[in-house]
Amino acid sequence: METQAAQTLIRSDLLTLTQNQMEMLLPYAWVFVGAAVALVLSVIRFISPKWPVFIVSLLTLGGGVWATEKVIHGERLLAFNNMMIFDHYSSVFNILFLVSAAVTVLASFRYLDKEGLQYPEYYVLILFSALGMMLMASSIDLVVMFIALELMSLAVYSLVGFRRADRKSNEAAMKYFVLGSAASAILLYGVALLYGSTGSTNILDILATIEKTPALVTPVFSVGAWLVMIGFLFKVASVPFHMWMPDVYEGSPAPITGFMTTGLKAAAFATFIRVTMSLGYGKSISAVFQHHMHDALWVCAVLTMVIGNLVALAQVNLKRMLAYSSIAHTGYLLIGLIVGPGNENGYSPMIVYLIAYAAMNLGAFVVMSMLAGREDHGLNLHDLAGLSSRRPWLAFAMVVFLFSLAGIPPTAGFAGKYMLLYSAVQAGEIPLVVIAVLCSAISVYYYLRVIVYMYMKEPAGSPANARASLWSALATTGMVAITMIVGLQPSQVLNIAKKAVNSLVVAAK
């Protein structure tokens, strides 16, 4: 048997990477090496690892953005046995993840000092989580996608529970971990059924298979597809699967909540778009399956918008309010997913909205992590009373973010929502648009209430006037700038998003 082992399954072309593939891999390698260096630095004992790890993290994320920027206009490229794809789509999302991780790192520095939690592993976990997100957005194989999803989630589970002395933080981490694992198991079962019914885990191959033989859209395939969809709907916290979210968002440290609402959600949606396309959504391969998928997503979107906005009305804790508002925004994003195949811009309004949402929500959470007292106390509405006289710049930044979240021009939130709803009108989803507009009208109330408290109420007590951290101020300024730029120049962002989506359409044949 030894001698006749000439026959081998190893394909020699898989053992090397071409020059182009190496270049495309650079952002991922950079972030991984940076995370490893930060990990090594975090065990040094002769000086405090605080500054070195912080600086290495920022350099890693900045360098990652730079490396991605260099390859963003490169050709579409596959690597590792067609498991990974480097296209414009993944590059745009990589920049989004890296920037949101960088903002989180900036916002955390002073915050961790204040909380007495300045442990270097925190930054290492953020870096690894960002790496997981990047891999997720650029994987086209369900196995890699799942491992990347777990890489991202595992790091975030630990970050959610980072404030160990706080019971709420522990509860949030435990809840998120148990429910997240259950969702991962459902997703994995779906992946197994898809593999069983098409013979491949590669999403491009799955699409090619069912396009060639539509009879392969069997009941088993449908169940697999449904289970995968449920897994993703859990990750983006759409309504029937949203129960975990408010507690988790309230319990985790404020910068991490910001990271979860933006990076995590964007990563889940980035993969969600790829997967729904590859399951044949919008290609009318199987009419019944197509209609069921559309109707289920439709119901989820409506419930998500309505429940998210209505419950947010009743919240007095700012973090909890933004958690419910984040659910509502998931609903708007689901509209983009539903109408993606039916309008001229495809899924690009969704990407614009994800960018806009990332900027405004991250900004809001940076401001909140600056305002928060120890263990995130002091984030109730009445604590914000009279903020405009105490900390005028911070109050102003918050107003920009809240206006944007409410969708008031000339901010990013307005531009994003306008494009999203316009594409829905084009796709003929008028009831969906009407519901979305009504829901955003409701949302204006609870966003503006915060502004009313900040500007028109007398301050209740006189909390200690903490000096703003330079890093958080930097992050806030950046986010205000992005929110305004996206709001004033939406067509440029749309062009970037269109290019990204076009590379995706080509990829899916």
């Binding site: 048997m1 006749q4 082992a5 026959q7 081998t8 399954l9 190893i10 394909r11 898989l14 053992l15 991984f32 990990l39 690597a79 590792f80 046995n81 498991m83 990974m84 007495g116 442990y119 592993e121 925190y122 290492v124 976990l125 690894f128 790496l131 997981g132 891999l135 194989d141 196995v143 890699v144 491992i147 990347a148 777990e150 890489l151 595992l154 790091a155 589970y157 630990s158 529970g161 980072f162 160990r164 002395a165 593999y195 069983g196 019914s197 098409t198 013979g199 491949s200 298979t209 009879a215 392969l216 069997t218 009941p219 088993v220 449908s222 169940v223």
Partner: protein
Amino acid sequence: MNSPAVFADVSPYFFFIFAGMAILFSTMVVFKKNPASSAFSLVLVFFAFAGIYAAMDAHLVAALQILVYAGAIMVLFVFVIMLLSSDVPSLDMKRSGLMTRIAAVSAVALLLVGLIYVFKNNPSLLPKGPHSPEKIAQVGGNTRAISQLMFSDYLLPFELTSVLLLVGIVGSVALAKRKMGGTK
């Protein structure tokens, strides 16, 4: 590897025996109050799975299942349970309400009926994967095939798994190493 035909006529019975064992012991994992007996039921579930894999000619996976899951991972579980058992008296959680229980049971029943329906009505034109038993036999057996694939076709997931394990370790150490409320 030599003659799967001999197994072919008995393997359905093996499947039903092992699958029945797996279901029985998994329900015991859920319903046992004592964490230690839950853990030992889980070991038996893993053994049943190993039996199913062996009946499907996947001998390496069966062996690994026993070594890794039933051996290493479960021993770790049992150690953790033993270390914790002094301050966690039992896993007897607060009873959930009647409505929750009815909802849970009906959801599980619905899922079961749905899955049975789906699998019964599935037309049998499922495509074969690329790695048929004959092809594996040509290459020289399961072990050889898996190791060759792991370092070529599936290199990326294999390497990423190690990153995943690293993150798991970093995360758990970060959470476990410090005292509650203390600074270090």
